[in-house]
Symmetry: D2
Subunit: 358 residues, 4 copies
């Protein structure tokens, strides 16, 4: 099932080597400026082929707006975005079409559907996330109308962690690092893995600032639950932390509690969410990406005929998916917050009166 | 919004001090034995008042089946389960009814809804999770028909981790510890926190064994995404890890990849999920609970009138919510797997033919 | 699946002879007065045992509010309503437990689920509609806050149609007739059918007044589509008409078009809906109920063993389900309008600004 | 909201004068042949410009498959279908861009969204239904695998009704008439309306044959309720009847009941549905379309500035939308049945065992 969100909802389609990928964004409030350049700019951030830290595949990833916009404004109709696939080398996959690349989804797709589009991973390819980023760009524009900002960057590469979170800096960094003092060593970790025909994991930090108090729909569309789903569903993510995260399980209440005074919260161990609802403090998220499963050393695997085989992968691959993953994480968080913004609109009779009373 | 799941779906209701809590379970396939004792037994595992490691509130938590069962079999109609609330001491909350307990949901509920049922946390109380556990018991029974088992226990308390995972042992342990060698020290950590009027965090491990290959509905109801939502939505959870989890972000691909041979996977760093679909290997999950926010030392906070106030909490509280949380995590995982089992039934034309061809 | 609605959502449970029936109402905006007497009063309108025009079964149908209300106000938490079943005579069904009553759902439930609760029709019993009416009462209260009124009554019995629509009069009529001039003959039609051990069909008219312009979520949650689903889903309904209805298919555009001037619409053939969105004119609906399938003459049928059998029904049955059906239709329409009211809250950026801008 | 269906789900996008219209079809079981020619053929049935009974707009309506298909088989991934818009004459709408065409959705879209794409009705244009027909073609192919057939044709034009239902004949008829004896007079009714610059309403009959017993998900996704929503949501539909339909409300139970014997049902007043579940008998549906609101005589209306205006419509319009509507109705019914086929797959434990037991 390929929908995400309830009121601000995206539906995506497309495989790595299909004709196109794209999405339909439903529930965009009418009257929002839809800026094609802004969308393109966001999509370009995750576009491959730009630096030596990413795959050398070159995709233009040109986004077309097919519907839902009139005079540059959203009309309330669904907005369809389309990206035609280019520069696919299906021949890269000829050698491996009947075997299951380790730690890819080849095996599970084949077993679930009894058929798989082996070219570039088919539907399981991270290429689909370009559609998420395009949709996320519209969500971000909506959030900006309310001065809500979703920021992200690289927190750690191969365990080398940032000590400072500078989202401005990350925006300008080739690999979106948050801590410029760690940039060199983090880059080195990636390039060494790449040189060895290997890959390396990384951790992305996402922060939401100026979020209204009250977003999140308990008990089963809690803000933290929806963020966890949105982030864990990104290709390669194996852990999600909110606020104090894993560390919270090691602390005492007296250490982890966020006391308050008349001015508000005195700390933010909660990461901006209590009871599944935003507190108004920053939302702080850590998203842990596994290393790219595509590595170049010889590996052992199984093929569709259930035989043991050895093989060596060819092709062009990211040595660290966390980097482009940070753009996707940002988009997914933006989509969740936008959805929650809309869902909360009818939370009180008072809100409804603001809209319907004349 | 108070529904969870798509085809195997629960809807819960109830507050800590309402007349009752309960749930409706929809989508249970007809013909499943519904065993009231089994449900009661599961609910009893998270029932308060049983040991010195949990709150001393005594609730009978007697589950009534209201509908959907005939001759002890599910009929396809929704199954409603009801637990009347007893032994509520609303007076415990008189002193604090206009202030926001730190790190509870008092503040966020009040700001979102402009009204809150302050008694025992109202809807945000972990008491609601009894309904999840009751529903989870029915999911577990369904899974057992296919020999799928969902196991859980305490992995760590206050950072003291298990080195062994013995789910049999956990079942018999007062605090569900997985590693009997750590039980004494883990208990001590809790009791010391309790003695200090404090609380402590903990980590729960959940394992699913013998899961069919192919469960999970990509791309937005991926198995890992749905598990993350289910677990992060439990009261007090701040991080969720799957398989190698946080550690995956520190590894190289050559370390983290699960190679295969003709017999299947040679390792399980993935924690049983690739591309959002089950591999057939064990699903391995770590769920990190923050320390109980209810502590007894004096704390500073804000009240509804926006003033700074100091207060000391009274009442009966769990020193470590992870313990009873392990029962809830087990139930939530069971509900997700049951939902995925049903959703996958129409994944191929071949499956449909098994059902409809005469 | 037993949910209805998207944002204002009900989930019902219960069978005719289960312990109870009831519902959970989710999405009620916080701050709405919840008046137990008002709910009870609505439920009493469809309660059996009151007149000679309805079944003589006596059910108290006492509604209990289990959750979601604090100080008589909705809190944003789900509101659970419970009605315990009483006065069930399961023995009435002993004779027919293995046969399929013609034009009841006995056959289809048995074939679908391979098990059925034969007592009183089980889940397929119209008794479940009491839960809908209880939920509808809360929707009606919400609508009244915006001066929206949902009115209903009997339009026709056995083809004898009203020529006047007097909803005030219907409220006071034993059988909710809209046209007092037709009341005697309509009653006579029912009593004659009853005397013959037979039953008769009828048509209900529902009118919504003062509805805001703009409700309805095109293209797949159009107001008319959602109303059609809500009404066609009521037990025994076989046709739904909006505005000119069936007659529209016989007219020319010049006859059916609703021209406008600066004061608004000059006619209302559309029945208040264009493009799936409310025009602000009255919503006009006709709901056609088949005659009660429970009749007392000898009938031929099949039993679970696939044999031909003849039988005569006993028990207590409504001679005309349209009468109590009019109360249910009113409730269902109220639920749809409430849902649309909430869903529309985020339709424009302007609406969101009213809520979130400080 | 622009999704329809639960497990077999379509999401559509596009406006009359946008770049394109299209849809994403989700939940198609893997392994189904996807035949581009078959889809094109279905879409061609509702294509404008073909006969003098339809608008003279010429659209090629060439359908492109963008994703979800590999080696001509569905892969389980979402199938995106795209139709670029051509031959749009936006200038046709220049004159009327600030006024509300009577009985069109101009007024309601403008009031709901405060902006509207006035060109060709924008999102409210029946052009969107081409996407439904394309999606419906895939549903039909799935149903054919189980020998389920969805047939349709014109039952009545301007009140002139068929006396015979010959679906074979309808397929070959220019206006899809079911009764060849009525064809001439039905055509004449249309052409006379057209000659007068007027339009006329009509009624479509849809029949589903060989449907499995047991489809329909009570109580809120009943088969009849879902069909009613699907059909009432088609542009211009004002009434939906199932089986005996409106007439059922005039009958006695002894006339309307479908008695049975060991061979099954002895009549089919129910139209193939009891308790919201298919009986295995034919599903019989009547769908009533209003006359096209686009007529050429002078009409009075309101403009965006709230003034009374008179105007005469120009352009190219169908004199009777029921004709092309019959193709859309067929598609919508096919989509509903496909969804129910999938949803029913997990209705019993027995069904699940067929899939998961080895």
């Amino acid at each position: 099932m390929n929908c995400f969100g309830i009121k601000f909802r995206i539906t995506t389609f497309g495989e790595s080597h299909a004709n196109a990928i794209g999405c339909i964004i439903d529930g965009v409030p009418a009257g929002l400026e839809i800026d094609e350049n802004y969308i393109q700019n966001e999509v370009d951030k995750r576009r491959p082929g730009l630096t030596k830290f990413a795959t050398q595949r070159k995709e233009n990833d040109k986004v077309q707006i097919l519907s839902g916009v009139f005079n540059n404004l959203s009309t309330g109709a669904p907005i369809a975005l389309l990206i035609f696939n280019e520069n696919q080398k299906s021949s890269d996959y000829e050698d491996i079409k009947s075997l299951f690349r380790p730690s890819h989804a080849d095996f599970t797709y084949f077993k679930k559907y009894a058929i798989r589009d082996y070219r570039g991973g088919g539907r399981s390819s991270a290429r689909e996330t370009a559609a998420r980023v395009a949709a996320g760009a519209i969500a971000k524009k909506l959030l900006e109308k309310f001065n809500i900002h979703v920021k992200s960057g690289i927190f750690a590469i191969g365990g080398i962690e940032a000590e400072d979170l500078d989202f401005e800096y990350a925006n300008g960094s080739e690999i979106f690092v948050l801590d410029k003092l760690q940039e060199d060593v983090q880059k080195k970790v990636i390039l060494e893995a790449k040189k060895d025909g290997d890959s390396v994991g990384g951790c992305v930090f996402v922060k939401v600032t100026n979020i209204p108090i009250g977003l999140g729909e308990p008990l089963y569309e809690k803000l933290d639950a929806m963020l966890a789903a949105a982030l864990m569903g990104i290709n390669g993510v194996k852990a999600v932390e909110i606020g104090e995260g894993v560390n919270a399980s090691k602390l005492r209440g007296s250490q982890n509690n966020d006391q308050m005074n008349k001015n508000g919260f005195m700390s933010n161990h909660a990461g901006g969410i209590l009871g599944g609802i935003s507190t108004g403090m920053d939302i702080d998220l850590k998203v842990h990406f596994k290393p790219t499963p595509s590595i170049f050393s010889e590996q052992q695997t199984q093929n569709e005929q259930n035989e043991s085989v050895k093989f060596s992968l060819k092709g062009r691959h990211d040595p660290c998916i966390a980097i482009r993953g940070s753009v996707v994480a940002n988009a997914m968080v933006s989509l969740v917050i936008a959805d929650m913004l809309l869902l909360n609109a009818s939370s009180t009779l008072e809100n409804l009166k603001k809209i319907y009373d004349k």
